[in-house]
Amino acid sequence: MKECEILFTGAVGAGKTTAIGCIGEALPAMTDALNVDTSVATACTTVGLDFAELTLDTGNRLCLFGAPGRSRFDFLWKLLVRRARGVVILLDNSRPDPLADLHMYLDVFSYDLPILPCVVGVGRTDTHVAPSLDAYAGEIARKGWAFPVFGVDVRRKDDVMLLIGALVARIEADTRGSARIPCRTPS
């Protein structure tokens, strides 16, 4: 039996727990606590990690881990990313400076991202149109990467599927050839 672990990380309130709960086959293991931070509009917040799994027809398993969003848990992010085959960065366009959030996650995972498939999902783009998805792609390109960027509503299973599907395709691209091109030098 094989396992493939995917890490969901991203800003507080971006919907990591919701996304994992959306596609897990059973009730996910969650460590949510009542949110007392009034600066973030979410009733609960993850204080440990979220976990859900999907068992495939071959018996293999897809394991989904959700890292807590608060930066004081960054030691946990680095532990979780070590075993991950791919990472989903979820961002919230309604936050004061979502591009700064993006940069923070790109920096935190800068050691892993050159070899780790990654996709970026941006939430609440319907109510907060700026920054645009192109702006996110531009910031990522400045780091020398070309990660997929999607506008998503993590309450919708299709949107979460899109993120996972994109990540699986990237993992697939990694496994279907030997001549992986090294990461470009950031401009």
Partner: protein
């Protein structure tokens, strides 16, 4: 491209006309014949988006220049007439009096890069030969023919350019990789395009490799790469021939090896309802 014609007067003096196409792509010039077949079709097609053609004159008497200018101004009231008389290069066509000296002719040849000069006997048999005195109907017919020749040469070169681009996209020595994730407007939530973009974001591929890995038709992959190239979203990785063949062999070996396990990934796809490639 340059086409030449002549004016001749009743005494047999001739006025040469040199026609050169400003080449926007290859900076090369070609002579073309003007086939009769398909003229009207090409003309109608081109005139759907009429662009101005520049006619120049050289060494013609002032009176003839005034006549030509007047004729062109009159025809210009018709919205489909493409020519304007201009005083400076670049020219699409240049009318030159045949009385120019050999030295002047050489200078013109140098300026226009290549020149075809018709003799009097030859010109009288040519459809685009011009005789003195200048007549509006003859000049108009000749300008129309010249325009047609220019447009045909232009479209045939565009086809050649497209074929050349396609050769690049399927070349073993040239591969493409995404510089940045394409705009949402370009992808339009098309899952095939998203899949191709994902593959190109992860590694440098040519169109054949992209089609092989994605399972999508080669024509679709070529078209998508062309769109991305036009959008400036791709960077080229050029590999010398021998190295490209070696790299290609390595790629296919890896494809057969399967690394992480195709069955595992296909299992994800089935479980998530994503379908198999």
């Amino acid at each position: 491209m340059q086409i030449s014609a002549e004016f001749r007067d009743s005494e047999g003096s001739v006025c040469e006309s040199h026609f050169r196409r400003r080449d926007r792509w290859s900076h090369t010039e070609h002579f073309v014949d003007m086939p009769d077949a398909g003229r009207q079709g090409v003309r109608a097609f081109e005139r759907a988006g009429v662009s101005s053609l520049r006619l120049g004159v050289c060494k013609l008497p002032e009176a003839e220049v005034a006549v030509i200018r007047t004729i062109i101004q009159l025809y210009a009231t018709d919205g489909t007439f493409a020519w304007t008389l201009v005083g400076e290069s670049p020219y699409d066509a240049l009318l030159v009096d045949a009385s120019v000296t050999q030295a002047e002719s050489s200078e013109l040849t140098h300026m226009v890069s290549s020149m075809r000069v018709f003799s009097w006997e030859e010109s009288s048999k040519r459809v685009h030969a011009l005789e003195r005195p200048i007549r509006a109907d003859r000049l108009k017919r000749w300008l129309d023919d010249t325009e047609l020749a220019l447009r045909q040469a232009q479209s045939s070169e565009m086809v050649a350019d497209e074929q050349s681009m396609m050769k690049v996209e399927v070349s073993n020595s040239v591969r493409f990789m995404l510089l940045r994730w394409p705009s949402a407007l370009l992808l339009r939530n098309d899952l095939d395009k998203v899949h191709m973009a994902i593959l190109l974001s992860q590694r440098a591929l040519n169109a054949i490799e992209l089609a092989d890995i994605s399972g999508l038709p080669l024509s679709q992959c070529i078209a998508f790469i062309q769109v991305l190239r036009v959008a400036g979203a791709l960077e080229l990785h050029v590999t010398p021939g021998a190295m490209a063949r070696s790299q290609e062999a390595g790629e296919f070996k890896a494809l057969r090896r399967g690394g992480f396990g195709r069955s595992f990934i296909n299992g994800f796809r089935r479980r998530l309802g994503l379908g198999e490639p």
